[in-house]
Each structure stands twice: as structure tokens, then as C-alpha cells.
Amino acid sequence: MMGTVAIPPFETFYVEHSSEVLGLLRRKLGRDRADDAFQETFLRALRAYDRLDHGEHLRAWVLTIASRVAIDVHRRTKPTAEMPEVQHEDTRPAYEDLGELTDGLPPKERAAVVLRYGYDLTYDQIAAVLDSSPDAARQAASTGVRRLRKEARP
């Protein structure tokens, strides 16, 4: 277990990331819709919290949950609109590179690829973020990677 970062009590995690999450949601959704999305984001995080294996990348993890919630809110409020692009505010290099590289992928595949290879999250953790099963997360990541390979071919 060398190098494993301990998972803090949820209170510590919440206090550390709540304002950044709210900022991101307000930029994506506006002030009114951001409030409900804020609660939904941290309830989803709470639901998944006891399944986390380590405390690394918690910031990326919760920002990704927030992005997913924002997409769901968009879907609910504009059912006919095209799915909005996930806009990542993160500045971590691995994430940024992958972010650009995966720009063309469908949101679920993109999220799975970035979380798996950009942040090294387990499929269990990714499943929690995407509100699906570990198998579905694995599937999404591998489909995404296959699609990227196909696109990269000259």
C-alpha cells in the first residue's frame, strides 16, 4: 500500500472542495440551477464515498461528478438540445492532454477514458462517477480507446 493517500473523513473532503464545485456548477448552469446541482453532486459523492480505494485525485473525481450532474441537468431542462460539451476547468497536464485528445468522444466514453488513463481511477470509482456499473465503465473506456485508435490512424 506504499504511496496510497488516505481517504479523509467526508467532512474534510466536502469543506475542501465545496466552493470549487459550486463555482464550476455556476459557470455551467447559472446561479439558480447550480444550487440543486450542488446538492446532487455531493450526494452522489457521498453515495460512492465508502467505495473509494484511495484518496488520490479526489478533486478531479468530484469535479467530474459535478460535470456529469451538470450534463444531466442540461438534459432534463433541454430534452431536445444536443448534449453539451463537457468543459474541463482542470489544469493538470495529463488531464489536459487527454482532454484535448478525447474531445471528439461521446461524453461517457470520454469521461471513462480520462478518469482511467488521466487520473488512474479504478473502474469501481469511475462507475460511481458515471452512475453505472464497473463493467459498463470498463466497456466505455475500452470503446473510447478503440475509437481514438481508429481516429489516430492516418
Binding site: I7, P8, P9, F10, E11, T12, Y14, S18, S19, L22, G23, R26, D35, F38, Q39, F42, L43, L46, R47, Y49, D50
Partner: protein, 186 residues
Amino acid sequence: MTVPTELDRRFRDAAARSGLLDAGYDLVESPVGQLLVAAGDRGILRISFDANVEQHLEWLSRMAGRSVLRSPRQVDGVRRELDEYFEGRRHAFDLAVDLRGVTPFTERVLRELALIPFGETATYAELAARAGNPKAARAVGMTMNRNRIPIVLPCHRVIGANGSLVGYAGGLERKVALLRLEGVLL
């Protein structure tokens, strides 16, 4: 950007209602000072005179699970009964206590302790005898000293054989205050 108080409170309420918390806690004002109160779905985990939250967070996380959040709603029932007790309107608590992790002896002692009525006292030796081990007065003293749930589990009602107050983990002045409240001391 700071999270507005109202929004923060709404989430902490929703978290308590969701049933997802391993433990919720809050700071509760009382005549014997601020109390940290923590409860999970099996009952009260901790009442402490030491409001140093950081240290309690670690302990609660280890004891109950890492989904620990400050949530006034989660301890509403405890707060209400404590308020009533301090106002003199409640003589017995109707609250579950979560004693996970204690030894069988400690649990027996604490169960007996809970039976000492409001306004009465017992000696360490008496409590030891009631718990089935008359010679264990010293161990009972230790158990009182480490009581995780003071006030509700009334270790302030346990005194020395000669009537002296002996000691109290929360400080002797609090033991005196509680016994005065109950009319044991003038």
C-alpha cells in the same frame, strides 16, 4: 467563492435524510459548555466536552466509517433531549447509544450506569457489584473516565465511598454543576 450558508445547510440536511452518513455531528450549546455530539443510525456515538473537532473526526471515521459529516439534523433528537435535561424538564433519556468496540465488561458497567436514576448516586464499588464484579471498583473508575457518552450515560452520578466526588473526565467543576442541576448537591 464561499458556499452560501443556506445552501450548505440544505446539503447537510439532505445528507442526514439520505441515510448515507456513517455518523453526523454538531456542536451543541449547554450550561456546562459547548458539547460535541455525534450519532449514527444505531445511536449516539460520542458526547464530548472537548469541542476540538479535528480529533473527533478522525476517531469517528475510524469507529463508524469515513462518511462523517457535520449535520445538525442528524443530532436533532439528542440536542432536544439534552436541552430538556438542562432545563430541568427531563429526568431520563430516551436515546439509543452505540457502544460498538467496547469490551463486554465495559458494556455491562455502562448498562448498569444508565440505570442510576436522575438525582441519585452510586459508589464505584456499588456499580462494580451491579455489573457482577464487586472487586472491580478501580476498573469501574477507569470505565467512567473513558465514558464516550457522558451526561446521557450518567458517570457524574458515580462517587467515592466516602461521599467525595473523586474525579470527572470533563473536569470536576462540570460534575459539580450536573449534580447541582439534579439536586444532589446544593
